[in-house]
């Protein structure tokens, strides 16, 4: 029975690993044996993923550092210089979608993970797992897009690997990229640094990437084709840091959407966050698609947006810089960090009430009716 397992696992006083998973108030962790097989949700970056890390990877690797669980990890190579390091794998289907492909996603995703710690991305590796039978022209197209995207982002791909699996044992093409970048002196960007009074800025519309993928994957047709927002954010971030080096937090709201990012920031900083529904920029076609499917754009993935938590004094300068940049043209102030309700994200609704923004478990499931 599920309830008994929860009860027995609800108290983990001797569990050394509790301090590593920094989801505040992560209640009733269910033991891994609850699921004897890997579910799709284990790859979701959510609670199931965290359970794998906690129960399998950390004990096996002998890692104890909580920093190792961030999107990118910053480490010192000597007294003065800091590097950021990150890796990510890409298994998106279909390989090509409106506004992008697995190739540009593989570059942009890792570049963006690096620059969310304030790093200037330098070099990437690229490893391919290809399925027997994949047309060479398809691979060539993917590689060309990776090259073009890397040039756009100003990074070089300097290491790589290729493996082939038998027909039927892969989805055409999987890509892993890893990247390193240099963190400029004086920059200290981390989710723990949000402070009451800080302002929450969003760089543009939310939900575009996730709905673009869903529309092609599920064969849903909307009046206007929804384009992925896949883009490298490093030039925008560099200009923001030039304008105001003391940015407190940057996150790119990918899996789990803006809701997940804001909750992570609230948890890490032990602050509350209040946003206003009516200030959230959403493309009309994305909004329509979400209405039809019963999805919340706050939970839908983005691949070229960032959320910044900044001191109030920085808002005017940063908004000016962002509005001049093509990837920040629709930047908007969406809310504020507060001392109340630490760890909790609240949205003011259009009718003047409020609701808590939590994140549902697993995938958002289209509603029945």
């Amino acid at each position: 029975m599920r309830d008994r397992e929860i009860d027995s696992a609800g108290f983990r006083s001797s569990d050394q690993t509790q301090s590593e998973i920094r989801f505040e108030g992560m209640s009733c962790p269910v033991p891994l044996q609850d699921y004897p097989h890997i579910l799709m949700g284990h790859g979701g970056g959510g609670k199931l993923s965290a359970e794998l890390i906690e129960h399998i990877f950390l004990p096996a690797f002998g890692c104890q550092s909580p920093e190792s669980l961030a999107d990118s990890t910053v480490f010192c190579i000597d007294d003065a210089r800091r590097l950021a390091f990150s890796t990510d794998s890409y298994v998106v289907q279909p390989l090509f979608f409106p506004g992008g492909s697995i190739g540009d996603l593989a570059v942009n995703g890792t570049v963006n993970d690096l620059c969310m710690s304030g790093a200037r991305p330098l070099h990437l590796s690229a490893a391919f797992i290809l399925e027997e039978g994949l047309p060479i022209t398809t691979l060539q197209q993917i590689a060309l897009q990776m090259g073009a995207t890397a040039r756009r982002a100003g990074v070089s791909i300097i290491a790589g690997d290729t493996k082939v699996v038998e027909r039927g044992r892969g989805d055409g093409c999987y890509i892993n990229t890893a990247g390193i970048g240099v963190v400029p002196a004086g920059v200290d960007i981390s989710p723990a640094r949000a402070r009451p009074g800080d302002v929450v800025i969003l760089s543009g519309t939310i939900g575009d990437h996730g709905m673009a993928i869903m529309s092609v994957r599920e064969g849903l047709e909307f009046e206007a084709q929804i384009q992925s927002d896949s883009a490298p954010l490093n030039s925008l971030v560099a200009q923001m840091i030039d304008a105001w080096p003391d940015i407190h937090v940057l996150r790119d709201p990918t899996r789990g959407g803006l809701a997940a990012s804001l909750n992570e920031i609230a948890a890490a900083s032990r602050c509350g966050i209040v946003i206003e529904d009516e200030r959230l920029p959403v493309n009309p076609s994305v909004q329509s698609a979400c209405e039809i499917l019963g999805l919340d754009p706050l939970l839908v993935a983005n691949e070229g947006k960032l959320v910044a938590i900044v001191p109030e004094a920085a808002v005017a300068d940063l908004m000016a810089v962002m509005h001049r940049h093509p990837l920040g043209a629709q930047a908007a102030v969406i809310g504020r960090v507060v001392a109340d309700h630490p760890g909790i994200v609240v949205a003011k609704t259009s009718i003047g009430a409020s609701r808590v923004i939590t994140i549902p478990i697993g995938e958002q499931l289209p509603r029945i009716c």
Binding site: G25, G44, L105, I213, G352, R355, I361, I368
Partner: protein
């Protein structure tokens, strides 16, 4: 967005709430029947701007929540069989059966596919003639026309490897069951706009006069809901009990006649079990004998189903409006969307899930979960 944004206007919402407050003189309990309405009330915080005299009771109108455990267990049993492609609406995948859910069956090798329309399942059947394709045909009157049409097409086109596990439920018998239940506190109903869009509302006047209860056909946006509540309160204050249509831009009295015709061609009225509530006479639709070839229950001869509900779950009391979700001892503790004990914690229309996701905790506690959106990378 046309027909949506203009029904979310904050200023107009406040004026409607003020109007309700001016009219109300004593406490009233109003039940919104439909889970979509519950979701909207909680998401927008409509209950927060109502006068304290007006209490919203959340009804049994989430199809995911009331689908009987026995049907879920049958679905799990069929989905586990080799050679079967099992198709379902997305939010059924996490509904707990007696011991598993469809996600776990999928993880263990079951071929389970999320579809947006039952016609997608029929296409899958055409594309996989050597496999048995089963569609989980559940829902209220809203999903019934498309489900009926699909089964009708399967018969007409001779798609022999397609079948449906049918468990449809109906709103009017549920209203009747609630009014007949001991301890009923409901003074007025907001009828589900989308259900009435299919069925019309000719069945309701009899219910109004038999139980002396106002029924207002209501939509789903904040202004729709507030207008429905306002009209219910006006009737209650005047001592009236009649049917009103506050969703006239969508609903007509006779409903969608073509949809009704296909429903009645394929389905017939049956007694139906409601999860958490029990059997309600003549409260559901099942396949007519002429369509029994497409009945998955018969085709797969699912027997030996022994259902077992969690003893902690009080979903039945929630569905009947006897308690609010956060008054259940397991709410937010043993029972979360990650580990649902009852179906009301699963669908976004489920009252417990709506309460949890929009933070109606017994104690305000920090969120603990993150979402995924499939492999969008």
């Amino acid at each position: 967005m046309k027909y949506l944004t203009e029904y979310r206007d904050g200023e107009k919402a406040k004026r409607l709430a003020e109007d309700i407050a001016r009219r109300v003189t004593r406490p009233w309990s109003i039940m919104e029947v439909c889970g979509g309405q519950t979701h909207s009330i909680i998401r927008n915080g409509i209950d927060q701007i109502l006068p304290k005299e007006v209490e919203m009771i959340h009804g049994p109108g989430c199809p995911v929540c009331v689908t009987p455990l026995e049907v879920i267990d049958k679905a799990l049993e069929i989905a586990s069989r080799p050679g079967v492609i099992f198709c379902s609406f997305g939010d059924m995948l996490r509904v707990p059966g007696s011991k598993d859910d469809l996600f776990k069956i999928k993880g263990a090798g079951g071929d389970i596919r999320v579809v947006y329309s039952p016609l997608d399942a029929l296409n899958i059947a055409r594309e996989n003639p050597d496999r048995q394709v089963v569609f989980l045909a559940i829902g209220f009157e809203t999903t019934a026309p498309a489900n009926a049409m699909t089964i009708k097409l399967a018969k007409e086109q001779g798609v022999r490897n397609f079948s449906a596990l049918v468990s449809h439920v109906l709103v009017p018998p549920a209203i009747e069951a609630i009014m007949n239940s001991p301890g009923n506190r409901v003074n007025a109903f907001l009828a589900a706009g989308h259900v009435c869009c299919v069925t019309g509302f000719a069945e309701y006047p009899a219910l109004c006069s038999r139980y002396r209860v106002p029924i207002v056909v209501t939509g789903f946006e904040p202004l729709d809901l507030l207008e429905g509540i306002r009209r219910a309160v006006m009737q209650l204050e005047r001592g009236e009990a009649s049917v009103e249509n506050a969703y006239a831009r969508v609903v007509s009295q006779q409903g969608n006649v073509a949809a009704q015709a296909v429903i009645h061609e394929v389905f017939e009225v049956r007694d139906r079990g409601w999860r958490g509530i029990g059997t309600i006479p003549r409260s559901g639709w099942g396949l007519r004998p002429e369509y029994s070839d497409f009945d998955a229950e018969l085709r797969f001869a699912v027997t030996d189903i022994h259902t077992m509900e969690s003893p902690l779950c009080r979903a039945g009391d929630v569905l009947k409006g006897a308690i609010k979700p956060n008054q259940c001892a397991a709410f937010g503790k043993q029972c979360t969307p990650r580990t649902p004990l009852g179906a009301t914690m699963v669908s976004s229309e489920g009252a417990c899930s709506a309460y949890f996701n929009y933070g109606r905790f017994v104690q305000l506690s920090p969120p603990s979960q993150r979402a995924i959106a499939g492999n969008a990378r």
